[in-house]
Symmetry: C2
Subunit: 364 residues, 2 copies
């Protein structure tokens, strides 16, 4: 149902989306500040349920592309939203009906809100991942055969590029090269779609789910016989994979990605055990004492043991105490086509995909 | 004056342009085959003198971008010419009046002829360098403040990209990144201009000059009291810098450029001396016994000692006997703005520009 998104909703969406970001999707604090600034200046935005949009409406996903560490240093501004809007409108010779996010994440859930506020267009409550992924072809729309192009790209300096490619993997390849040349982060409009396609392949009501998750995280407390941790796991539907203290973070920026490993020493009931989480912008695998307990496309989330605030891969620090939680991914990712796009083998992990519910049985 | 370019003219233009390529501009043999194929299929093309084109006509330079070694392996085909033409026409919503070359060189003098033949459009007898240079901002039009964008790029697979940048250096930066991702060579349409701008800043009648040089090279012989070598130097207006045998070629492909050094042991009157020529696609400096005898933007050309056929940097081989010849560059390159763009310091050579006529005094 159509409703309005103002400052309080943004606070919650940013928080919840940064949990769904599974370590990626960028810094929720920067994203939140940007969105709040835009809403303070231009007023609240309208959120549309996907079922409310006309089949022939032109819907444009808006996102930032690049390494989250760089993104946090050079956030987008109004010029970029307008430049992308102009490029897409000119290309189609048709009015854009609404924007939508591409992924759930601290930054990429916020950037489309900024665009909506600045351009006075509604936002659709849908995305193409239901989480965050590092490469642009990794969306449910690719499974549906939708082209990522025409794709518009612009940087903060004023350079802009329009891509038309033979496959979404080629879009990723070429846009990534330009992103690196532009300094590691850019703003993009891609997967232009009609309303019908959005409804058919999108992850529906993900903005609302982010908001609900965010609200719940902010108010985690003991409830009845449940500890705060149990209560957190209950409302997220999460699997408790490990509890530990970060003892090492290995990180490098490679091809405009943040790639690395975080090593954890067990605490509380996990004392004596060791875990590690591999990531490429987002967390890819979680391993406890040499046994894999979760892999992409399921969500592996690290949250603070006291506040349950999600910790993105760019904010990992020695000494932090974290709970490692697994969340089942959107069902379309578990299909053969989905696993070809975002299964563990795509990311170079030498294991088949086994659903989180099975993998995590031993540790729950 | 308007005239027709057929097979014999192509033979001469390719040969002459490959001398003006100063080691770069790609393989004249491959370029020639492409152009001849296109003319056999579509008929001769029309060459227009720059003074014949209307001031408001839309003129599009067409070129291949990338490392000459790669270019020779994957030459462009008709699809690319048409794709670029369509992108440019769509962007301007206006008919393209004629094509023109961007640089003189074995390959890039031929590709615009291919485009003209396939699309049935005339070619203008002008370019933006009067030689070949490795980066796309290195044209007289940059000195004139003309933007390289909108620039269209396409590869042999069918990917295409449209750039709009804040400076021509940024066009180079972004287009180079895409060129590398596309496998090291692509076809481009850039510096779209009106006829007035072409006339104001272009290097006029360079196609005709290439043709005359080519014809002269093919017919070099003793004439009167002149040896073939003296006769070659006379009609090219060249400075004889060195004569030697190639004793080493150091070459690497770096950032879609062919970069390296060729080392020469003197022969004939140069016996006992050593020379080396540095290159980045094109020859940058010539040094004899430690003394620089020529630098960019003047042309440093290596030709066979017997046939006087130019040797491009991608064809350098141990044992070849070559004459190193210097040719003065187009006057606009010797201005402060010109030297900022293409002077020796831009290429990392630690020397000021001194005109060839002065440098070569000692060796002539």
């Amino acid at each position: 149902m159509m409703r309005t998104i103002g400052l309080q909703q943004i606070e919650d969406i940013a928080l919840g989306a940064s949990l769904l970001g599974a370590g990626g999707g960028g810094d929720p604090y920067i994203g939140k500040l940007m969105a709040m600034g835009a809403i303070k200046e231009h007023g609240p935005i309208t959120l549309l349920d996907p079922d409310e949009i006309p089949d022939d409406a032109l819907i444009i996903p808006m996102a930032m592309m690049g390494a989250p560490t760089v993104l946090a240093e050079k956030a987008a501004n109004g010029r970029e939203c307008r430049a992308l809007y102009d490029m897409v409108s000119k290309y189609f010779g048709k009015k854009v009906y609404a924007f939508m996010p591409m992924e759930a994440g601290g930054f990429n859930s916020m950037f489309p809100i900024v665009c909506s506020a600045i351009l006075g267009l509604p936002l659709v409550d849908v995305d193409g991942m239901g989480r965050a992924f590092p490469e642009l072809q990794m969306v449910t729309f690719t499974i549906g055969g939708v082209s990522a192009t025409p794709m518009a790209l612009t940087d903060e300096k004023g350079n802009s590029v329009l891509f038309e490619t033979i496959s979404n993997k080629w879009t990723e390849e070429l846009a990534r090269a330009v992103t690196m040349s532009c300094g590691g982060s850019v703003a993009v409009a891609l997967y232009p779609m009609d309303g019908k396609t959005v409804k058919q392949f999108g992850v529906k009501r993900i903005v609302t789910r982010s908001e609900e998750l965010g609200r719940a995280i902010r108010s985690v407390k003991e409830s009845g016989s449940l500890t705060p941790e149990q209560s957190f796991l209950k409302f997220t539907g999460g699997f408790r994979l490990f509890k530990g203290k970060i003892s090492d973070v290995l990180r490098e920026t490679r091809g405009a990605f943040n790639v690395g490993t975080v090593v954890l020493d067990g605490i509380a009931d996990c004392k004596g055990k060791k875990a590690q989480v591999e990531f490429q912008n987002e967390n890819l695998t979680a391993t406890v004492d040499g046994i894999i307990v979760a892999t992409v496309p399921d969500l592996i989330c690290l949250v603070d043991t006291e506040t349950f605030l999600p910790i993105t891969t760019d904010a990992l620090k020695y000494g932090k105490r974290v709970l490692v939680v697994g969340l089942p991914c959107f069902e379309m990712w578990r299909s053969p086509k989905g696993l070809e796009l975002v299964g563990p083998r795509y990311f170079g992990c030498d294991t088949d995909y086994i659903p989180l519910e099975v993998r995590a049985q031993g540790v729950r």
